[in-house]
Symmetry: C2
Subunit: 200 residues, 2 copies
Amino acid sequence: MMVLSRPKLQDTAANDGESGALPEGTGADLLSRQRLDAFTHARLWKNPCGFAARFNYLALRYNQPLYGWVEERFGLARIEFVVIYSLSLQDGITASEISASTAFPKNTLSRAVNRLIKLGYVVRRTDAIDRRQQFLSLSPAGRAVYEEALPRFVALEEEMLALLSLVERETLAALMAKVVLAMFEVDVPESTLPTSRPEN
Amino acid sequence: MMVLSRPKLQDTAANDGESGALPEGTGADLLSRQRLDAFTHARLWKNPCGFAARFNYLALRYNQPLYGWVEERFGLARIEFVVIYSLSLQDGITASEISASTAFPKNTLSRAVNRLIKLGYVVRRTDAIDRRQQFLSLSPAGRAVYEEALPRFVALEEEMLALLSLVERETLAALMAKVVLAMFEVDVPESTLPTSRPEN
DNA sequence: AAAAATTGGTTCCACAAGGAATTGACTGCG
DNA sequence: CGCAGTCAATTCCTTGTGGAACCAATTTTT
């Protein structure tokens, strides 16, 4: 096959695709016009789990360049920037909360937080009433990193949505919200939790 | 944004949040009814890159349990199952093609393929005219793994979409296709490619 | 047609990631 | 009030990952 250069994404992986039965006009036809290798095409458009394939693909194409840039610009690993981003969303949370929400192991977060403190991007304040917990906050330097990075993240999201009208974006947002909601209700079988391991 | 976590995989990670200001009816209100921690809520609903945050979240919640199950049921790592899944989509592709499309490094794929061959799930056939290339195929045993696993993948996708009507699903599929298309057109800046690293 | 450049795949190796066990701080039960 | 159970965070240690170098088969250049 051909393969052309393109991606180099990295994350996700797996399945993708969808099958041939896409309503025309949705992209399958357009895709084939792109110089896209046949396998990626199959992953996205002829996959029995086409929806999953597509958002996995998007996650990959979104995260890869952004975190690559973060690494190169700031010398921060993905997990480290995740901490910074998280603190910008909710100041004063603990490492455990980030761990629980993002599914990164606790020890990985511990390392990331400690490095960020050493670099002066994050400050730690031990809870007076429960001295186990450590509330984290961004330092001015940490906030500066976030401020510089955010526009890139916003811009790429904007590029993703570029082909959509305002109405379409709202529709998409609403439908995605429903899907996210559905996932909250999925009871995760015990057996699936243990061995997992991110992402990646 | 987001990020997904990496479960053990390595994938995902990142931002999250919560808070309160989403257009009503989209899920924010429903969400707050769920027993969901505040930070995750912020990540999903008060995030400047909310769309990215949501599909990252979905990727995490989708991949993690499934690949965890694969690991436990078959003793196969994520990348190994990715190979199997890929071959089911397109028989006879090479390791390089899978690498290019999924963004896993070549050597990682090399290892995965060799292990799968050793386990008898994959067979390799060297191209007669270009003896560098090795076309891969599923053995009956490999196909059996796929056949057993696929229903799980389909079922979880179905759960994700459970709250959507048929019309809504089609709308979502079409909009997602447009977004995927837009990502094809993004020119990946050179600088972002080098240092990246999946997700894990 | 030899030399240089490319490409698929593998091997080497340094390092990071994460499971498991540990420490320190609370909580709850009896 | 003391002992078992829990929980945040950390440390230890093994393993897997992925960058870089390498090998082999081709292709291109001159």
